[in-house]
Symmetry: C2
Amino acid sequence: MSRREQAKEENRARIRASAERIIRTEGIDKLTMRRLAEDAGVSLRTPYNLFGSKTDVLIALLEGAGFDPGDALALRDEQLVMEQLFATLDHIEAFFDSDEKFYREVYGGIMSSAHPDVRSTNVERVVAMCQELMTHAAAKNELQIDTNTRELGRYLGVQLLAVLGMWGAEFLSNQESIRQVRRAWCGILLQHCSNASHRAVDAAYQSVALTGS
Amino acid sequence: MSRREQAKEENRARIRASAERIIRTEGIDKLTMRRLAEDAGVSLRTPYNLFGSKTDVLIALLEGAGFDPGDALALRDEQLVMEQLFATLDHIEAFFDSDEKFYREVYGGIMSSAHPDVRSTNVERVVAMCQELMTHAAAKNELQIDTNTRELGRYLGVQLLAVLGMWGAEFLSNQESIRQVRRAWCGILLQHCSNASHRAVDAAYQSVALTGS
């Protein structure tokens, strides 16, 4: 890394730390690029140059903390794709649970961002990953052969983001939102899974079954 | 109606008309209580007194246009409850479709409101209506007897609002969001419907089936 790149990296880290501090102590409403530059001791242009927008700073906060649904959704060969899909939900739940108030503010901030491009990019990214997983599931005979994997992947991705949006907007707890996603995923997957994956999908569904009053 | 009440009603109507005009011509970002009072030719206190908050004005816009999910969800005896449930989705889709851009701004404005109470009230109202419908469905033997109707109703209501939220935030078209809700509803209802309602739920599901690539 050149000296210049190193300085950039340090500034990025400093700005991320400032963002976290501002959100924790003053609340996300107080987070502006100006306040951020001030707190990090850099010029007002620096956060724009290094991140682009406040929304990008928030995304960097999640990624810096190790949250990467892309990684969680990336295909691992040793498992059923369906098992991996549901393990991703566990991963997301545990991550947000580790500091729910903070991550909820960050996530809510991203999803209600005034930069629709940034949000859309994230939505399309999650949808594309779910579609890829379903393509793999089909290749591994985990889906009935007439399944439209593209539409199914889109359904799964939209579902995840729609319900996490309710969490970000403080309508649901993290636990309830993940339970809701699991139910909505299972309901449709039970219609489309093959014999090879039925046991895994059914197990996921039984864990959130709506029985017993 | 007393003269005083009549004057109030007129002011409410004037303010609703102003809100609609401002949203249509200037965009919802320009809608403030001050701008509203100015456009309607009333004092700044009047919109607060008559509505409470900007969010309440937006809700009044939807209701004034005849949008009432409560009415759509209110039990009608002549149908299967499950048929009525899915008819509600048609109703919502047709209503928003009639003027999608406008209603999307209004709905998005309500759901991203800075008044969490108002939003929560709406969420709880929709959830309660879905729960009531499921109680009726159980009473009419449309659900398997071990179904937790309270949890099921909550699932259905949260699902509707989560996905409509994605529409309000411009991630999905109205049509796609209703299709998504129908899928998520059917997936779970297929697990819980009885023989009496299976045909209705299956028909709803077949209309949005994820088959054929």
